[in-house]
Homo-oligomer: 116 residues x 2
DNA sequence: CCTATATATGAATATGTGTTCACATAATGA
DNA sequence: TCATTATGTGAACACATATTCATATATAGG
């Protein structure tokens, strides 16, 4: 006969407690969304270049080696997640980083990748 | 007539220098892959639960509220990126965290999300 | 050996997402 | 006002990926 409870590693009450204390579905999804932004090489390139210089869309487009439209779309995403800010000057739009955490996140990620 | 050079924010030589110093395509893609792993709420849940307890697949499946097969697939991904390790005991497999950077990455991400 | 149990895996499907194309919008100068 | 330039945006497409279903593998006990 099969056991009524699937718990093997921990006791049912312990399991309930852990589940009860876990982050809300909403918080969890927000966190995933946040990481997802960094999970694209084009966006990482944009962030890298912006970490060196304030840049207009055309220059970013040249540096990243991708169409201006693609860069615009990605900048929209980065803007939405408050990772970049912009400044308009006539018809030109200058973008720059808008987050102090970005550098530390990168540092840790690089460290992790070094170890392998 | 249109300018031969698109550079607006910085000078062409400066631009070339920045581009030359930028990370390799391969390194950039590796970094994106790394972040991508965290960009899924199911994987985040698994990591969260494992950060509290070593757990077998069945228990993880119950905690996460997803089919055993789905959890197995995600564990494979996490294993591949060296974020979890496992230990076999008979027919049961116990998973646990395999990375000290995970906690710090989470801390920074949460901090970032708090600010908004 | 045969059965039962825990986990892994391949195929199929549905959904998400990045890029391109074409075009819209906005601002400048003639 | 018209043309030009920089940027933004919607639709379409191609591709990636998460989940499910069915089934395979592996281990332990009878």
């Amino acid at each position: 006969m099969s056991n009524e409870c699937l718990c093997k590693s921990i006791s049912p009450p312990e399991m309930q407690k852990i589940k009860a204390d876990s982050p809300s579905e909403a918080a969890n999804i927000r966190l995933a969304e946040f990481f997802k932004v960094f999970g694209d090489s084009t966006r990482l390139k944009i962030l890298y270049f912006l970490s060196h210089h304030e840049l207009c869309v055309a220059d970013l487009s040249t540096l990243v080696g991708m169409q201006q439209s693609a860069v615009s779309h990605q900048l929209k995403t980065l803007k939405l997640h408050r990772l970049v800010k912009y400044r308009k000057e006539g018809v030109t739009v200058y973008y720059s980083l808008d987050d102090t955490h970005i550098e530390s996140i990168f540092a840790i990620a690089r460290e992790h990748l070094m170890e392998q």
